[in-house]
Symmetry: D2
Amino acid sequence: MVVVMEEGATSAQVERVVAHLEQMGFAVHRSLGAKRMVLGVVGECPRADPDIVQLFDGVQEVVQVSEPYKLASRAFRPQGTIVTLDDVRIGGDEVIVMAGPCSAESEEQVHASAAAVRRAGAKVLRGGAFKPRSSPYSFQGLGEEGLRMLRDAAGAQNMKLVSEVMDTSQIDTLARYADILQVGARNMQNFSLLRELGKIRKPVLLKRGIAATIEEWLLSAEYLLGGGNMDVILCERGIRTFETYTRNTLDICAIPIVKKLSHLPIFVDPSHGTGRRDKVAPMARAAVAAGADGLIIEVHVDPDRALSDGAQSLFPSQFDRLMAELRTIAPAIGRSICVEPVARRGWGRE
Amino acid sequence: MVVVMEEGATSAQVERVVAHLEQMGFAVHRSLGAKRMVLGVVGECPRADPDIVQLFDGVQEVVQVSEPYKLASRAFRPQGTIVTLDDVRIGGDEVIVMAGPCSAESEEQVHASAAAVRRAGAKVLRGGAFKPRSSPYSFQGLGEEGLRMLRDAAGAQNMKLVSEVMDTSQIDTLARYADILQVGARNMQNFSLLRELGKIRKPVLLKRGIAATIEEWLLSAEYLLGGGNMDVILCERGIRTFETYTRNTLDICAIPIVKKLSHLPIFVDPSHGTGRRDKVAPMARAAVAAGADGLIIEVHVDPDRALSDGAQSLFPSQFDRLMAELRTIAPAIGRSICVEPVARRGWGRE
Amino acid sequence: MVVVMEEGATSAQVERVVAHLEQMGFAVHRSLGAKRMVLGVVGECPRADPDIVQLFDGVQEVVQVSEPYKLASRAFRPQGTIVTLDDVRIGGDEVIVMAGPCSAESEEQVHASAAAVRRAGAKVLRGGAFKPRSSPYSFQGLGEEGLRMLRDAAGAQNMKLVSEVMDTSQIDTLARYADILQVGARNMQNFSLLRELGKIRKPVLLKRGIAATIEEWLLSAEYLLGGGNMDVILCERGIRTFETYTRNTLDICAIPIVKKLSHLPIFVDPSHGTGRRDKVAPMARAAVAAGADGLIIEVHVDPDRALSDGAQSLFPSQFDRLMAELRTIAPAIGRSICVEPVARRGWGRE
Amino acid sequence: MVVVMEEGATSAQVERVVAHLEQMGFAVHRSLGAKRMVLGVVGECPRADPDIVQLFDGVQEVVQVSEPYKLASRAFRPQGTIVTLDDVRIGGDEVIVMAGPCSAESEEQVHASAAAVRRAGAKVLRGGAFKPRSSPYSFQGLGEEGLRMLRDAAGAQNMKLVSEVMDTSQIDTLARYADILQVGARNMQNFSLLRELGKIRKPVLLKRGIAATIEEWLLSAEYLLGGGNMDVILCERGIRTFETYTRNTLDICAIPIVKKLSHLPIFVDPSHGTGRRDKVAPMARAAVAAGADGLIIEVHVDPDRALSDGAQSLFPSQFDRLMAELRTIAPAIGRSICVEPVARRGWGRE
C-alpha cells in the first residue's frame, strides 16, 4: 500500500497514520518529496481496510499496489492452466466449443441437438436442467430428469457435459451427471456456493457477473482455487451498460485482459452476451480472433419453439456455417479448432 | 403484447406471426394502420417468449404492455403495505431508522453501538454475522455467536433486529435470532434463496442488486410474495456506474419510482450506497426528502478499528446530528421520525 | 506521481524508468520496500503522459497523486466562490432557484411563465432560444427572437436570465441578452466553446456531461477559470446508467463530492435529470437536503402543449407547492430559500 | 405510435388522449382488447412529444413504432453506401485501414509514420492537428502547420488523409488539407458542427460518443445526411462502462447492429477504444472478424516519446504483424484487406 499525504499535512497527521498502520501490523517507510510525504506500507494484513486510512486527516490518497487475488494471478502459474477431460484440453492450442440447447426440454430435443453440434465440431454439450429466471412465472427447467437426458445424449455422442448449478444443495446431483459445473452470472458472488465448489474435484465454468469488474471476477475464482479446485474456466457473457439494443454488451476486450492477468482459460458466451440470434456468429468470430480459449453457444433444433432463450439460439445450419468460419480465423493467432468435421473421424454415430 | 409489423411486411409474414401466437395460446387482434399492421395480443402465456416473436420476418417491434410482476405491483394493493413488528410500523407515516455496526465483532462493541443508536432514535438494530466479502481473505463474520450478541443487544434496548442471510442453509439460524432477514445485493437474484424465504413468516429486507433494473428488483420481490410472504421491504443501496469517486451511485430517484410502481415500503442504505463516511449524512437527508420509508445506516462506536466497512460507518455523534436534521426534513413531506429522543421515553436502559 | 515496480523488477528496468522520467524533467526519489521498489516522482510536466510509464517493463502501477485541476480545486479558494449578480448571491446561504420554460415559444408563454415562477420565489428566469436536439426533426428554438422575449420577461419581473449557448458563434448574441450563459451537457467537452467563454466576463453555468466523471467536469471548469472567468456555476443533471425507467440517473451524491473537491457553487437540474414531471419535486427536495446551492427547474404554464420537454415541466401550482416544501427543508442544513413569496415584497408586477 | 391504456382506464380518459393526439395532427385507430384499449396512432408530426402522452391519466405506455432516423436507415439504401475517394472504396469488399500518429508533432515524425503504415497496407493516413484534451494543461496540437505536414506526408505516400475538426470555425482549414473530416466522440452531439458539415462535400468520419446509444449516433448522422452530405462513415471507439481496466469498453457488437440498421460503413478505433497498446491488436482482429468495414489505428515511430496518446500507439513492427493477421481473418467473412504489401506494388517511395 502507498499512502500519499496532502501537501499541507502536518507531521502530527503523518504520525497518526503511521501509528495506525503499525498497529495493524504493517511496516511503514517514510519518503519525503518536494511537496508532500509518501508512505510506503509493507506487509500482509488481510483484515486491514485501506478505505479507513483514506479517511484520516491529511491523507490524500491510498493506493493498493498488489492485486488482491493471488492464486488466480498469472504470476502464480505463468505458463497457463490447461483443464483436461480425457482428450478435451481446455486452455491449450485448440479452441474448444461447447454447444447445445439452453434447457433440456425432451429426450428427442436433447439428442437431436447434441448430434447436430457434435457433427459440426463441438466437443462439450451444454444444457440446463435448473434454470435461474428473473421472473417466477418463467419456465424453471426439468431438474434431475433433464440432467439425465443430457448425460445420455453426451454419452451417445462421446461428448463432455457442462450444466449449471444454482445452489449448494444441487452440487451433489450436478456432480453425478455433469463433467463441468457452471456457475451463472447471477451467482458469481454467491460465496457460499463458491466455497462448496472449491471442495469438489470437477472443473467449474465461472461466468462473469453482469456488473462485475474483472478484479471481482478473479476474486470469485480465488474462492474456488483457495478451496483446492484448480480447474477453473472463466467465461465472459456480457456486462450491463446503457446501450439497450442488445441485452448486454459483450466485453470482448476482457479476453486479452484476463489472458494477461490470470493463468485461467477464458471462454465467451455470445448467446447470452447478445441475446439475439443474428448477433451470435459475429461475436463468436470476434471472440476467437481476440484470443478466447473457447466458446459456449446455444443451438436448438427448433429455436422458435424453445421453452427458454429461443431468440438467441442458433439453428444447426447456422452453427455449421459459424464453425467453418472459425476454422479460417483460428490459425491467424496460432490456434486450431476441431479441424475436421467430427463425423468423418468416426466419433458421432448418426 | 403489441406486435408492430414492418412497413413492407407481406400478409404471409403477418399470418406466420399470428399462427405462432395463436399456437402459444394467445388471441390476436389485427389493426391495420395507414402504413403498417399492428397486432394486439391478448392472453396469459407465461412461458411465451416475446423475444422469439421479435425474430420473425417482417416484425419490427414487440412491446410488452403489462409489467411482468403482479403481486409486487401497486395495482395489487393500492393503499400500500405496512410491515408491522409490534409497535414498529414500516411503511407508515413514521420514517423508521435501522442502525448499528456492519458486523458483530464483540459483546461490548455490539451493546455500545446498540445503545448509541437507540438513544438517537433508531428502532431497529442492524448488524451482520455472516458477511459476503468479495475477497476470500477478508473478515467473514462471527456466525451464530455474532447473532446471539446482536439479539441480546437488541433485547436490552427494546429494539428489533435485522441481519443478513446468505444461503438457504442459514435461514433457520437467522430466523431464530432476527426479526427481519436481509437479502444482500449480491443475492438479489439467488432464486433458490428467494424461494425458501417466500415460505417463512418473517419480514424480508430485499436489497437491490448493483446492476439490477427496478423491474428485475420487483420481479425478485415477486418470488417472495408468490411464496406467500407478503412482508417485503425493498432497499436501494446504490448501483454501479462509470463514476468511481464513490463505490456506487445511490439512485435516490428509485424512491419515487418504486413508490409509484409498487405497494412495498422502500428503504435506503446510504452507507453501502456511498462507501464514504462523509457522504452518508447528505444522502440520508436526500433519501428522506425524496420520500423514503426508512434508512439503514452503519454506526460504529470506534469505526477506525471496525473489522469491516469502517470507512463508511458513522461515529455516534455524527448519527445524533443526522437524526436531528432528519427531524426537520421529514415534516416537509408529511412524515415524522421518532420525534423525541428515545431515552426520555424510558425505553433505553443506560 | 508514484511509480510502483513489480516484485521481480530488475534494476535495469528500474533505471530505464528513472531515465525516462528524468528526461521528461521530473526528479525521482527511489524508495525500496521489502519486496519492491517504489519511485516518488516530483515536478510539474504537464505534457508528460503517465500512461506511457505504465507500459515500461517492470512497472506494476502508476499513481497520480495530485488532482489534474488546480483553479477549480477547493484548495485554491477554501472559503468557496459566491457568484454575485446584484442582489442574487449564488453559492451563499440562500438556495437560489432558477425556473422557467424549456424553450421560449411565444411572448405570452414566456411572460406568464416568468410571472408564475417569480411569484413562487424563483430569482432567475431560465429559458432556451437555441435548442440542442438529438433529432434534426425536433423543434430547434426561436433563436434571437426568443432571447428578446426572455430578456423582456426577466426585466418585467426583476429577474436575472440564464440561457444556453451552443456554439462560439452564438456567444456575442447570448451575452447581449442573458446574465448567465449555460453550457449544456452535450457541450461539456466542447473545448473551443469553453476557451471562448473563459474570455468573457459573464457567469457560466456548466452542466455535467451524461458520461462525465466529476474529475472531467472540474477539468472543463478549469478551461473557463484558466481563461480568467472565475464565475463558474456547476450543474448536475443526471448521468447515463443501465436503468431506463428515467431518462438519466440524477447523481445526488455529486453534490457533497463537488462541495468537498471544489469551491464552485453546485446546482441541480431535476427536470432533465429525470425527464418525468412526477419525479421532479422529490429530486428537487433531495438536492436541497443534500446541500445543493440551487436548482434549475422547468415550469410551463401549459406543459402539455410545450414544443419541447413538456413531459418534464411542472405546472405552476406544482412549482408553488415544491417551493413551500423546500422552505421547510433548507433550514435543516442552515440554508434559506427566498423566505417570503416575492409578490408580497413588491417585486412582481401582476 | 402505439398508446396502451391502463386496464381500468375510463372512456373519458381514452377520449382525452385521442383528442390530444388528433389536435397534434395524428389519425387514431382504437383497438379494444380483452382487458384494455390500444390506440394505433398514424401520421407524421415531428414536433409531437410522445413523452407528454405518457403523462395523461390512464395511459400505461407509449411505444414509438418507427426509428426516428430516416436517411440513415438501411431501408433508405438497402444495398449499402460506398464512400469513394479515387481508388479507395470505403464500405466495399476490402477492409480499409487508416493509420498514423495521434498528433502531428514534427515533419520527420509524420513522414516516417506515414511511410511505415503505408508499407504495411494502410491506405489512409490519420493524424491530428487540433486536439481535444480533457485537461487545458495537455498538448493541444500544432494547428494548421500540423495539417500541412500531414498533407505532405499523405501525398508523398499516395495516401488519403483523415483529420479531426473540432469547431465550425476550423471546417474551411480542414477541408483544404484533409480528404476525410473526423468528428470526435466529444462532438458527436455538437449539432452546430454537424449542421455545417452537412453542407460540405467531403466525407465525414463520425465517431460514436462514449455515452451515445446507437440510435442517438444514427440521429447525429442524420444531421449530416439531411444537409446533403451522403458520405458518412461511422466509427465505434468505445463506450463508458463501470469497468475501469481499460479506458473504455469497445462495443464490438455495434458492428453487426449498425450493419443491420443502417447503410453507412462502420469503422472501429481499437486505439482509443482500449487506451492500451497491448490490447489494440486483439481488438482490431475482433473488429474485422465481426464485420467492420475498416479500422483506424494509432501508429507512432517512437510511441514512448509521443506528445499524446503514446500509450495506445503501436510500434510499426506491431502494426506489420497485425496487418498480416488481418489478412488471414478477412476471408473468413468474404472480405479482403490490401492483399499485398504496398511497397511491392510500387506505391511507396522509400
